[in-house]
């Protein structure tokens, strides 16, 4: 390749309902590396993009939550396979966006893919671990089952652009929820690539919707939206989590509060990110009939 070749300057789009639309507002913004060099243009999502994404996520919920846990696990594992194929691209984007060395970026991408596989394995084990048969004092069979909460709005971590994103998104999907994600504002490129991965794996359209843009701008609209069932405030702008939680109270959403500081995403998350987006249903069935 000759060095005088013209650069292909990329302008990425959103990932909504399995397609890649421009922002309804027509806005884009420049994404730079940590030293301020131009990397690409990203779509700057508006509240109407968020509205469209919620409609798509709601429409996809019945199919995704109704799929068997085994099938969901297979689909999510397929995502990890396609991520593995994009390994080099993820490494470059993580290294440029987060300003870390190649080897550290490789470790982060490896951890992200491993995390995705780990959550893919959880789909058909949640019922056994979080539910079960309850001993009751009466002639009844009594079962508790974890069921998905619904449409989850996720404000993704601002710093960890891939491992953090996977760590908040994959558990939402593993539980059978559908997601509307507002990505890191400054470091959106791994999320854009993840959108391309999701579009070329077997995840049904609308199950994941990725909005690149400002969580401070779109977050309140999602928190207040009557058709969003839960909101994860991990990537909320500093000092605004309480305001968002108050907005979410109007429609009694599940709220995951942000940690005081962005955590070390390499640590074992356990079930801490699965259980907030699961509702326990208990069934009483008469015995001996």
């Amino acid at each position: 390749m000759s060095s005088d070749r013209l650069a292909v300057r990329k302008t990425y789009k959103l990932y909504v309902n399995g397609a890649f639309p421009r922002s309804e507002s027509g806005r884009t913004y420049e994404v730079t590396d940590t030293r301020g060099h131009f990397l690409a243009n990203a779509a700057w999502a508006s509240r109407k993009d968020a509205r469209d994404a919620v409609v798509a996520a709601r429409a996809a919920f019945r199919g995704w939550s109704g799929a068997t846990a085994y099938n969901r696990g297979q689909v999510l594992y397929r995502v990890a396979e396609v991520m593995e194929g994009r390994h080099v691209q993820f490494c470059e984007e993580v290294a440029a966006g987060e300003g870390i060395s190649g080897s550290k970026a490789r470790a982060a991408v490896d951890a992200a893919i491993d995390r995705w596989v780990w959550y893919a394995g959880w789909t058909d084990k949640l019922g056994a671990v979080l539910g079960g048969a309850n001993p009751v004092a009466g002639p009844y069979f009594d079962f508790s089952l974890p069921e998905p909460t619904g449409v989850v709005a996720v404000l993704a971590p601002q710093r960890s652009s891939l491992l953090g994103l996977v760590s908040v998104l994959a558990p939402v999907l593993a539980g059978g929820n559908t997601a509307v994600v507002v990505t890191s504002k400054e470091r959106p490129l791994p999320a854009v690539t993840l959108g391309e991965v999701l579009a070329t794996s077997d995840v049904p359209a609308g199950v994941v919707n990725l909005l690149t843009g400002d969580a401070g701008e779109i977050g309140p609209w999602l928190a207040e939206h009557d058709d969003v069932d839960a909101v994860d405030l991990t990537g909320a702008p500093a000092g605004r989590a309480m305001e968002l939680e108050r907005l979410a109270a109007g429609s009694i959403k599940r709220v995951v509060r942000p940690p005081a500081e962005e955590p070390d995403w390499t640590a074992d998350p356990g079930l801490s990110r699965l259980t907030p987006f699961l509702e326990t249903k208990t069934v009483w069935h008469p015995m001996g009939v």
Partner: protein, 337 residues
Amino acid sequence: MTHVLDPDAVTAETPPRREPLAPYRDVTRSDAAFRAFLHGLPGVDQVGAEARVAVLGTRSIKTTAKAWAIDTAISMVDLTTLEGADTPGKVRSLAAKARRPDPGDPSCPQVAAVCVYGDLAGVASEALAGSGVHTAAVATAFPSGRASRAVKLADVRDAVTNGADEIDMVIDRGAFLAGRYLDVYDEIVAVKEACARPDGQGRAHLKVILETGELVTLDAVRRASWLAMLAGGDFIKTSTGKVSPAATLPVCLVMLEAVRDFRAATGRQVGVKPAGGIRNTKDAVKHLVLVNEVAGPDWLSPDWFRFGASSLLNDLLLQRQKLRTGHYSGPDHVTID
């Protein structure tokens, strides 16, 4: 060609044909004259029509104008259910929704009418009694219109007897496309006569469905519009909703031009009803912009413009709730129908 037209052949048994309004009294004197008139209408520039609606579709309607547009659109909805599985219970619940579309908000206007099959018109008119909401019934072998004229007229009389005060008829597209325009004309005239109420208290409003999806070209839409207006239709309606494409903006543009030109020529105002495929508020607002810009503000009333729709109403209500509360609403906050 086996069918030879004799322009002046009027047999002794045929009753004199009801003439259209002046200045078009003579256009229906023979098949040839009528064809010459309809084919003499100016051709429609399809590319121009599409460009015009595309430009008008970009109009930005916000805040108070949007609130007005949403309320106006709600008051223009013909809430429709035309399924084989319709039950009296479903019609009654639809009527309740028509009376009070948003039970949580008394300021929400009523819809214009409930549109059902003729056999359920009695259930609908009973449930709507005293509310001011009209009962519309589809008739004339809806949606295909493939039945003999006697059957179609009996269908209309039955619906009117059952309590329908608006009749949505389909034209005979087979005859129209074969060029037998006078047959189509005569049938509309006959149906209009059959709309007379049995007790002599006036007659039901007649909406003429052109089924533009089957007419294919905009030129044919213009001809069918004029034909229906000359025959005395009170409304011209795009589609049954059973054929795709249903209501599109270019078709609506041509029909609005036709009613505008017809009033200018004869002094009689005819309404327009797009039906089928209008599912969201944005589409509805685009139609209202088109009405205002093409036909004029005189048509911006439920008496002269209607939306034939079922799912549109819920989207209008969601947008209305959004404007009122300041945040997005969801499908859990409107009724399922």
